[in-house]
């Protein structure tokens, strides 16, 4: 059954793959070791986006890296990862053991840097997500890659030439008009758009009177950002027709349903898994029940809140 609910779950399609759940784990939430060790119940997810990899290994940021805030968290991990060489030699072969499909996520700051990932082009990958929006590594003094329209257009265009697989652009919510950026990546040839990454925030420790994070700015995620993320998904859906990977603060079935209704084809559950490792289980069950009770398919839900005002331009 396409996009339908069955007692076993929901079937839907994304980039030519049938998925058994509309929920997915966004990038950076869990590493391959923990995925394979069964730290999360993967049967609740349609797929997982792997932790972003960089060309060279990165230790990540110094100082405090995670911080609890009311209804959310902040992080300054700084893309700690083992780099492309280890990914190709050691991680990739182990991924065969994953019970759900995966997307590879790469961090790219320039067209030149993108060429360094050409070894991925030779693989039979389902999809690659280009993380253009990590707030914890700076592009230049002007801000994030995802805040530079010309640059992301060039990078996605180059990625389109380099890779045969599906390409997803992960955008930053910290831009004035995210739909403009979505239009740019769509016109450059992206197959999907991930909306969005963490919001940039600052925390100050009043006891020490210093910023909590060494780099001052960190990424805000969790329920606190849900309605902000929902607005970004809403705006992007009205502008481009690419599948949207809706991400940001989803913490309950209503939030997941709202994300879909705003236009998300699939819904990421990130930080909430730190609140509850098995948090996706109840969400999926309630989403299935909602669809059954209302006689709807998942496909019918996607963008439904736009009603007649939907206005696609891409």
């Amino acid at each position: 059954m396409q996009g339908g609910a069955s007692s076993g779950g929901i079937m839907l399609e994304l980039f030519g793959r049938r998925l058994s759940s509309p929920l997915f784990i966004p990038s950076g939430i869990v590493g391959v070791d923990e995925l394979l060790a069964g730290q999360l119940g993967l049967e609740d997810f349609g797929f997982v986006v792997l932790k972003t990899i960089t060309l060279k290994p990165r230790t990540g940021n110094q100082g405090v890296r995670v911080y609890d805030i009311p209804c959310g968290m902040m992080n300054s991990i700084g893309l700690a990862n083992e780099g492309m060489d280890v990914f190709m030699k050691e991680t990739l072969p182990r991924l065969e053991g994953l019970p759900i499909p995966y997307m590879v996520s790469i961090s790219v700051h320039s067209v030149d840097e993108l060429q360094g990932f050409n070894r991925l082009a030779g693989l039979d990958l389902w999809a690659i997500e280009l993380n253009l929006s990590c707030p914890n590594v700076r592009h230049n003094s002007r801000g994030l890659v995802a805040q530079d329209g010309d640059l992301i257009f060039k990078i996605i265009k180059a990625a389109r030439r380099l890779f045969n697989c599906h390409i997803v652009a992960k955008l930053s919510p910290d831009v004035a008009f995210i739909d403009e950026y979505a239009k740019l990546v769509a016109s450059a040839g992206a197959d999907g758009v991930a909306v969005a990454n963490t919001f940039q925030g600052v925390a100050i420790d009043v006891k020490s009177r210093r910023p909590v994070f060494d780099r001052v700015v960190a990424g805000v995620s969790g329920p606190a950002i849900f309605h902000l993320a929902l607005k970004r998904v809403w705006d992007v859906y009205r502008t481009v027709s690419l599948p949207i990977l809706g991400i940001g603060g989803v913490y309950c079935a209503d939030a997941a349903l709202a994300m879909a209704m705003a236009g998300a084809r699939v819904v990421g559950i990130g930080s909430f898994l730190y609140h509850r490792r098995d948090g996706a289980r109840a969400i999926l069950a309630e989403v299935v029940k909602y669809l059954e009770d209302n006689g709807l398919s998942w496909d019918e839900l996607v963008g439904v809140a736009h009603g007649v005002i939907r206005d696609k331009q891409a």
Binding site: G28, I29, V30, G31, D33, E34, A37, Q39, L40, G41, K51, T59, G60, V64, R65, V66, Y67, D68, I69, P70, C71, G72, M73, N75, I77, A80, G222, P223, Y251, S271, L273, Y274, H275, R276, R277, D278
Partner: protein, 241 residues
């Protein structure tokens, strides 16, 4: 994957709280910790890492210093959400003589370790360093007996001094340490001065945690020139001095 448990016992004494829940799910090693938060409260989003203070197969207890938002919320919760136990825990060496060195609230995991060591033939000494008498008084009011030599920086309780100054008085070949990082670094320095002694030192480290199970990469610290993820590779690191 975590479970909600009713708080079965709760005692508070000036800045410290002793909490117990009924728990019989698994064996727990000294030095392991749980991720704790109040249930059903989204405003305490991330759980707090708390060491096991005591466990007898039925009752699981935590000794918690009230520090900020999270620990205050935990202290008043009727029901706690627990995930764990996480981390490697201390490793026991049956043929060795042990010294336990606690600093401040580093007491919690070493109290549990001492309790376990008593059940073995391993001989050990225990020193607890505090800044002043506050924790010591609070512990007494909680009705707990700490069989440790107490050393206070301001001399208001026990002997006056810094805990690391006392370790030379002991004869040991394994040293278990938990306390603030600067204190542990000083102890490590002292142990290394006796280089070649063959002393094994185990330090229980602290870091802010996002998940407790290895997912977030948030708990990275560097200690003795090594970078570790505290929840997965620690919290206990071993150094051969």
């Amino acid at each position: 994957m975590g479970l909600g448990l009713k708080v079965s016992e709760r005692q508070i004494a000036e800045g410290l709280i002793l909490l117990s829940v009924e728990y019989d799910a698994t064996t727990i090693l000294p030095g392991q910790f749980f991720q704790l938060r109040p249930v059903d409260r989204m405003d305490i989003f991330l759980a707090r890492p708390i060491s096991v203070f005591s466990y007898n197969g039925r009752k699981l207890s935590f000794l918690i210093r009230l520090k900020g938002r999270g620990t205050y919320a935990i202290s008043t919760a009727d029901c706690l959400f627990l995930d764990g136990p996480f981390g490697n825990g201390f490793k026991l060496y049956p043929s060795r003589k042990a010294l336990l060195v606690a600093g401040g609230m580093g007491l919690a995991p070493l109290y549990f370790l001492a309790d376990q060591l008593k059940k073995t033939t391993i001989d050990f000494d225990f020193i607890w360093g505090v800044r002043d008498g506050t924790y010591v008084d609070a512990i007494k009011r909680l009705g707990l007996v700490i069989e440790a030599r107490i050393v206070s920086e301001d001399g208001s309780t026990g002997e006056a001094g810094i805990v690391s100054d006392f370790i030379d008085e002991y004869d040991f070949d394994i040293c278990y340490v938990c306390g603030p990082i600067p204190m542990m670094e000083t102890v490590l320095g002292r142990l290394k001065e006796k280089k070649g002694s063959g002393v094994i030192a185990q330090f229980s480290l602290e870091a802010n945690m996002g998940c407790g199970w290895g997912g977030c990469k948030g708990c990275y610290v560097e200690f003795d020139g090594r970078g570790i993820y505290v929840c997965r590779e620690g919290p206990v690191v071993e150094v051969l001095c």
